[in-house]
């Protein structure tokens, strides 16, 4: 199971700071998440895998930490 971290509005939508999911790549994870939390499908976010931003066809291993990153708003 990969560890999934939620930030910003995605944390508010899931109600959790982190959850565990099994998925072979980010696309599969995205589908599973949006099935469980349908507001995610209308929310703008990117994925980071182990702290680096990655696109949807990135493969996942169970040891990975994936983060859902809404648009940054610091400063």
């Amino acid at each position: 199971m990969a560890r999934i971290l939620f930030f910003g509005i995605t944390r508010e939508i899931t109600g959790a700071a982190e959850l565990d999911y099994h998925a072979s790549d980010l696309q599969e994870l995205k589908e599973a998440l949006e099935k469980d939390f349908d507001r995610l499908s209308v929310t703008c976010y990117r994925f980071a895998v182990n702290g680096a931003i990655r696109n949807d066809n990135t493969k996942l291993q169970d040891s990975d930490t994936v983060a859902l990153l809404p648009p940054f708003a610091g400063g």
Binding site: G8, I9, R11, E12, G51, A67, P70, A73, G74, G75
Partner: protein, 142 residues
């Protein structure tokens, strides 16, 4: 100073330590500081009373190092760059961001400070939720 996040509003004594950090460098003739405060913005008849910042700390650290390195590469006269961003609740009028760039000369200090700020906005994994005087709140992009 390896911390980039600060819990709550940034206070005077923290700003003084940022100011004095590295002041043994006698070839740094110019410090450019940017200080960001929460603004009591008006939006449709209501005004901002506070912002709650959240961050992804591990990624903040790696992105911060990347930002600092890339600005130093752009502006070789720069001697040091440090910054601190708040997490948690910061009320209107309180300080949520401090950047300090030290350089040999004024022009590079000021340009590098501006470049650091732009990169923080683009690359630092920080989010903000605005709270208004009518008790409503909303996530804010930018």
């Amino acid at each position: 100073m390896k911390d980039y996040l600060f819990d709550g509003p940034i206070n005077d004594s923290t700003i003084v330590s940022i100011l004095n950090y590295g002041n043994e460098d006698l070839h740094a003739g110019a410090y450019s500081l940017f200080i960001g405060r929460v603004r009591a913005d008006d939006a449709g008849g209501k005004s901002v009373t506070a912002i709650e910042y959240s961050a992804y700390p591990e990624m903040v650290a790696s992105q911060a190092e990347d930002i600092i390195l890339s600005v130093k590469n752009l502006y070789p006269d720069v001697r040091d760059i440090i910054f601190l961003h708040s997490t948690g609740v910061v009320k209107a009028g309180e300080i949520s961001l401090v950047i300090k760039v030290s350089a040999g000369h004024r022009a590079e200090a000021m340009k590098a400070c501006s470049a650091t700020l732009e990169k923080i906005k683009e690359q630092l994994p920080v989010w903000k939720k605005e709270f208004f005087n009518d008790q409503s709140s909303s996530w804010r992009h930018s």
